[in-house]
Amino acid sequence: MAVEQLALTVLMGILLVAVAGLVSRMVDWRSYTPLGGASAIGGSGYGGGHAEKPAGIVRWFTTVDHKDIGILYGIYALVAFFWGGAAVLLMRAELAAPGFDIMEAAFYNSLLTSHGITMLFLFGTPIIAAFSNYFIPLLIGADDMAFPRINAIAFWLLPPGAILIWAGFFTAPLGLGIDPAQTSWTMYTPLSAEQANAGVDLMLLGLHLTGVSATMGAINFIATIFTERGDDVNWANLDIFSWTILTQSALILFAFPLLGSALIMLLLDRNFATTFFAVEGGSPILWQHLFWFFGHPEVYILVLPPMGLVSWILPKFSGRKLFGFKFVVYSTLAIGVLSFGVWAHHMFSTGMDPRIRASFMAVSLAIAIPSAVKTFNWITTMWNGRLRLTAPMLFCIGFISNFVIGGITGVFLAAIPVDLVLHDTYYVVGHFHYIVMGMIAFAGMGALYYWFPIVTGRMYQRTLAKWHFWLSMIGTNITFFAFLVLGYLGMPRRYATYQFDGAIAPLAQVTTLHQISTVGAFIIGIGQVVWAWNMVQSWYEGPEVEDADPWNLKDDGMFGREFQWFEAQKLAADGGEEEVATDGGGVRPDGGYRRAVRRVDDE
């Protein structure tokens, strides 16, 4: 038997080498030009090679321009955001009362699964890709991404991925027997291995596609930041957002292929009777190890770039440079490395060896430090600064505030004794929603407002933006603070009902807190409707931005490279290219003088 297996392994190895050899003979790799039309070498400045684009919808299907692809990522992510948001509002409506009132458990489970996977894989990762695609080449002075066509392919893998992930919702009414997956986003075995529903297989395939997409994007960003930087940009003055994207891309490169492998193993278990995750085989706990070895870096894949966005935007409205810039850079890299040594803190209650568990606690406590360092840097940046409470700035400050709560509640969970009590309760859900909604979504919204003038050439409606912020901020804190308290009361997560024995938890308080959460969730929902209206209407009808410096950044020497590019575009459009060379705008002509009073567009 062992000999047969060895022979099979050797044969498989030979086969793989033969395939690799065949492919390398058939494909002339040099035939691939790294840029979509523009010269890759010697091109000074932002040419982009996108001079002629087809008109209409064809442009969007064929584009390899990083800015267009960034917009596509953004629209895709926002569609997913509304899908995931609608799912959770239905769930919160169901949870407003203890019993089954408006849906059955199966549908609740489907919504729960879809909400989690959609928000993390179809909203979180793509919205970050939207910003990085559009702005990284501008920030580093590159012509485009290193591989524009791979960039386009990476995006176009996402729509089929989303359709597959959501497929069960479309096919269920048709009576085909293909229902939405009810596995929760963690897809824990044996539950996910034993659900005989083809909807689960479709979801796994869809997830696989999104993973391939993210990996292709990550390779592209690493290549771009390493090789396509402008002559004047090196590691010492690389902007903080690019640093976080570089770190995130490295994490994706190591984490997502592992998820892909685990998904394939799960598909094999489901359809071909393998026993990777069976009790008599590799054990269900193997899935948890593989999943969280991907899953915890995924947390930082989602949170590092938003931290970069805030580190980039916050100083602009504080009138000061980012305090301890290099501290933020090195702590970002530290988080990147340490994130691979903490995965089993999600598994403290699985009965693993206590010695191993203790080690994961140690590294989990250590990773709190770089995150805290960033928080103090942001606070210190604002300290004694001249704050301008524009919509992007409000979202940045809200981000920090939410991170303080979300981060500190996480430190408690890193301690084994606390985790064993709070595991699988709403406390955990409250903690990570402060991070994913309170941080990631907030940073995304702040960046959307900050760069809205560059992307659309127009300004948004400021009053509506402030409504959006305050509704989001108040709604987030109402909803998720109630979650934390629910967790202390022992409310288990993922349940569609809470009609439990009064001896376990006080049902009256639990009901009240659930109702408070539901109200908070709808407040968030209303805020996002205000935001959607603002974005769409302002894009069509907003006042055109006359000045390339809509945020008065030149006054503080904060006129970033992306706005310098924007200025060059505007000057070129006016036929005044000559002026650009003398109007970089980053250095204060007055040598440091600051006006005591200044007009601010959005305060």
Partner: protein, 110 residues
């Protein structure tokens, strides 16, 4: 003992910047020592090896990345200083605008 170029690269200021990563490294080291000295669960060849390797491998990886990145940034700083360019995030393109051809003046619709 650092070599001569390394000593120049890792000057006082750079070392001060890198202190930020020394803190998590210190925490990991602290736990390695604690777990070596206090051992309520007894020793087992496989589990104890995993226990220590999680901390040691992660700590070493952090140490190496901190060294490599600190070196890269420090050398890049020297490079910028030699060219008389600013170190700030915003200044890359500005500095160029004053010294050499502007990096981002071409219109992509041209």
């Amino acid at each position: 003992m650092v070599s001569e170029p390394d000593a120049k690269t890792f000057d006082r200021e750079t070392l001060l910047d890198l202190v930020v990563n020394a803190i998590p490294l210190g925490i990991i080291l602290f736990f390695i020592l604690v777990f070596a000295l206090v051992n309520p669960f007894g020793s087992d060849p496989v589990n104890t090896a995993i226990q220590f390797s999680i901390m040691i491998v992660t700590g070493l990886a952090l140490l190496v990345l901190t060294y490599v990145s600190g070196k890269a940034v420090s050398e890049a700083e020297d490079e910028l200083e030699e060219q008389g360019l600013e170190l700030s995030e915003e200044a890359g393109a500005d500095g160029t605008a004053e010294t050499t051809a502007p990096a981002e003046t071409e219109d992509d619709t041209a």
